[in-house]
Structure formats: C-alpha cells, structure tokens
Symmetry: C2
Subunit: 326 residues, 2 copies
Amino acid sequence: MSLLVVGSVAIDTIESPFGSAPEVLGGSATHFALAASLFAPVRLVGVVGEDFPGSYLELLRQRGVCLEGLQVVPGRSFRWTGRYQGTMAQAETLSVELNVFGDFEPALPPAYRTSRFVFLANGSPHVQRKVLEQVEGDPFCLLDTMNLWIEIERRALLQVLERVDALVINDEEIRELTQRANLIAAARAVLELGPRTVVVKKGEHGALLVHQDRIFAAPAFPVERVLDPTGAGDTFAGGFMGTLARLGRRRPSLQDLKQAVCAGVVCASFNVEEFGPGRVLGLEPHEVLERYRAYLAMLQVDGEPVLEQVLLAAGSEGSRAGAAAG
Amino acid sequence: MSLLVVGSVAIDTIESPFGSAPEVLGGSATHFALAASLFAPVRLVGVVGEDFPGSYLELLRQRGVCLEGLQVVPGRSFRWTGRYQGTMAQAETLSVELNVFGDFEPALPPAYRTSRFVFLANGSPHVQRKVLEQVEGDPFCLLDTMNLWIEIERRALLQVLERVDALVINDEEIRELTQRANLIAAARAVLELGPRTVVVKKGEHGALLVHQDRIFAAPAFPVERVLDPTGAGDTFAGGFMGTLARLGRRRPSLQDLKQAVCAGVVCASFNVEEFGPGRVLGLEPHEVLERYRAYLAMLQVDGEPVLEQVLLAAGSEGSRAGAAAG
C-alpha cells in the first residue's frame, strides 16, 4: 500500500574512526525512503535548495521513490556535519545549517493525501501537524522526534503524539520525554499519550517494541565493522514501515509488528556498513531476505524440552529456600 | 554434573531509587550459586569472617549448595556498599572492605577437585590460577573478571585466560581488555587469547555470545521494575553454567550455549526484581521454566513467508540503484 514520508533531504558530511565522507546524500526522509522502497512504493515530501545534486535525486528515483512532493526552492539545502568516536553510539554534531529546511512548509500533492501509511520523520511538531491536517481517510501514522523538540516544543509534540498510531524514538529521547529511566516503563508511559505502539531504537543493542500490553525485545543484527551509523534509525523506520505498508493492515497485529521490527533491524544493519546511504543504495531484496533469515535463525533457540527436563529434575531433587534474605 | 564456583561471599549494603537494603547476603559466588543450584548441585569455595550470619549460610545450604569449601576465619567478612541512580546501569561503589577476602587462598576439598564444570568468579587472577592448579581432569572452565584486574594484573589475567574455555565479561570491561569499541570485534579478539566462547553481559540490553565463528545476540527479558541489579551478572553466569553443567557436555554445542544464555538471561531478570538475592532465593524451578518459555515465545517471529513474498514482490516490481552515493 501507498507509503508517504515527510522529512529532511540533506547533504551530510561525516567523520568516523574509519574515514570520512564529504557531502553525501543524507536526511531522515532519504534514509527512510531508500529502505522502505525495498518493500513498498514510497512518496516523499520534503524540500531541497537549488544546489542539491540532481544525481542524488536520481538515486532516489531509481529506487522508485516518487519525488512529486519534493520542493526545490531557491537557497541552499539542509547540511549536517557530524563525527563519531569511541563506541560510535552517538554523533557529535559539528555543524547544522537548516537553510531551506528551516522554512519548510509541507504541501502534499493531491494524490499523496490518501496514503494509507505515513511516516512523520524527525522534524518540527508544527510541520508534523500540518501533514496530519492534509492526509485523509485515517492512515496508519508513525512519528519520530528528537531531544530538541521534546525540550523546546513539548506541548506541540504532545498534541501530535495524541493523533498518531505509533512512535519510534531512541532510548535517550524516550527517557527525556517521559522522565522514566526504565525503557519499558517509559514506553508504557507513551502509550498513555496516544500511540498504541512504541518502538525504542537502541543502536547497537537493537530495538524494543511495546504494543498495547505486549513486548518484543529485538537485538541488533551483529555487525562487526560499523563504518557510519548515520541514518540507521531512519533506515530502521524504513524497513519497519515498508513491511507494514506491504502487509497493508490498518491495525497491524503483534506478529506484523514483530516482522516489521526484524525487517527494520536488518535494514539498519546494512546501513551502518558503509558511509552515508552507500550500502542501502546498492541493496538487493534477496540480500535483505538472506540476512532476515539469518537473523531469525540466530533468534531461534532449540531444545526447550532439554531445559524443561533440567528444571523439572532440579525441582524434584534440589531443595529451595522459602525465605528471602535482607 | 558437578559444578564448582570459587569467588566472594559478602555482605552488601545497597541503595537504589526504589529503597535500600542494609547488610544483605551478597558476593559473586553467592549470586552464582543461588541461580546455578536451580539446575545442578553446586560446590562453593570462598571465605567469610566469623561475623558472617549463620542464617545466610543456611540459605545457601537450603538450596543444596555444598559449603564444605567455604572457609570461616577470624576477622570481618567482605563488605560492599553501593548505590544506583538514573538508568541504574552502573553501581557507584561507596565503600569496599575486602577484609578476610583480601587474603583469600582458595583450597579445594579433595572431592571438589574433579568437578566437571568450574566458574572462576570475579577475583584476583592469582587466586583464579591457584584454583586451576587444583582442579583435575580438564573441566569446562568459565572465567569472570573486572576492570581492576584488567588494569593492575593484566599479565596474570591473560595467563589465566589462556587456560579457560569461556569468558563472561561486561561490555565496558571487554572494550577495556581488548581496546576494541565494537563488541563483536572485541569478543573475537578474546577468542585469540584462549577461550573458544565469550559472553558479553550488557545489563538491560541482554547478552552477546560469540562461540568460534557463531554469534547469538540475546535481548534481556523485559523487566519494568528493576529494584536492584546487584549480582545480576553472577546470576546470569549461574543460570548459564547451571544449564551447561546439567547438559553435561565437555564441549557444549552452539545450541547448548544458546539455551544456557537464555537460562542466564531469565535468571538475571528475576535477580533485579528485588534487593539482594531476595527474588532468586524464593525462586521455584517452575517459575524459571515459565519465564524461559515466555522469553522464547517473545523471540519467536512467525511469518517469514510473508516477508519473503514482500521482498520477492518488491524485487520484481521495484527498481534498484546500482550506484552508491558519496
């Protein structure tokens, strides 16, 4: 089914312990669209300046991403420069130039308004609200946000949150949003704010899905050589929403959501293997499927009967203390 | 099969955002033994002072833990006082009194020397070496350590590491030991130092098993109310080694190790629910089995054929870019 993303399309300059990549294709909507388009047709709404390389737009088009909603306006494109060090868990932002993205007014082409699945990528809650005002027919909406908006636009953010189906957010951000240290408690607190589903992104530690009263903790797919995590969260969201859009249910089941999380984890694991979107750009569906199968095989633990024997035997022969210490 | 643990038996005083627990039963060997004894008979070697409460030793005996190797000597017992704040990921040590544990000379009763499974709990590598010198007949040995020994006894630690089958260590420690930021790269580096198996403990993020060329990333069992994580790592090791000892294979298979990791994850999830060893002391085998089943059910992702359809359909209809950006 039709999948709409609204967010940034940018030019990134990235340094990591493994090298650097100047002026590569970046932005939340970009990373999302490149992954999601492996699963479903994607429509992109965003804005770039006249300086934006046509070759970069062509890369999106080659993946079947519809750019009818991408505004090209006078001025410079959104630019971000960041650096990773140590465990590379967090980017250090060296510079941000919002440029044309600072005045971004989302305008959905008429055909986009009936999209059945919508990703509101990280951005001002006011922009996100304006998108919700333009969509029709109650689509499934996933929202992303960041610390900045939690801090300076909390009220507007909470209003948008009330109107979406799901929130995808990283561990630090959800702690800040809810003032809860425990991630499950934090996710449950978000369920009180509107969404029925929360996905906490934990970088190298995977993702945590809380859907109504059910929980799915998904480890990351193990990647030994992480060159650049930029866009991994949006790539995750792309695999997640791409899967949901393809499954096409307005109210995804727990099993739908678990599959979507696994697809997101697998897509994100490719993203980090090269700088910028390099790896995902060249990604073939069969590669995703192979890694998805390897991931599920990793999660598969055989031999429950053995542990059952073990525990029942231990239960019958060992003695247990009824009292607690302390 | 027979399972030996050598390590600390202590008195802990703990503060967390959820309360405090003065002078509770603690120590690495204690937490290990309480969990492992759910699976297999445990023999404990350690030392306490004459001040150590007899009622605490009785709690271990009631779980079938053999204390023949526990020395009771003049002086005060090992005491640790710690505090958890914020995400509770790390204890802040407020005071440590090694007391009688500072001069600990492990002496294995003759019957213990032929133990088939041995856990060398966190402690001086010299003490760990002395244990290895006393065991006979090539048991399966698991080693734990900490930053202190990596920093001040690196050479001795590396010598012990050469002689064990497996290392269990937390994420920070393995990064410090190997000077690798990526945990998989770090674990692989440890495989060059002797062990065939490495388990990285990641607290709320679960555990990572690297066994020869295979990897198993296990999320933590989701616990919303973490009161006190003290001993969670040793409780994990207890479930892990208890399972391996019960399975009884000198060279555990990948599936054995995966089951053992899951058992460790489940045991650790109980440990954090109350202060000190309170929850594990009262734990019944059927509770472990129920949570183990719930954990495996959580990890189970159905519907691979759906993603297969999705991806193959996407592959046939979508177009892909061959070129990489940047």
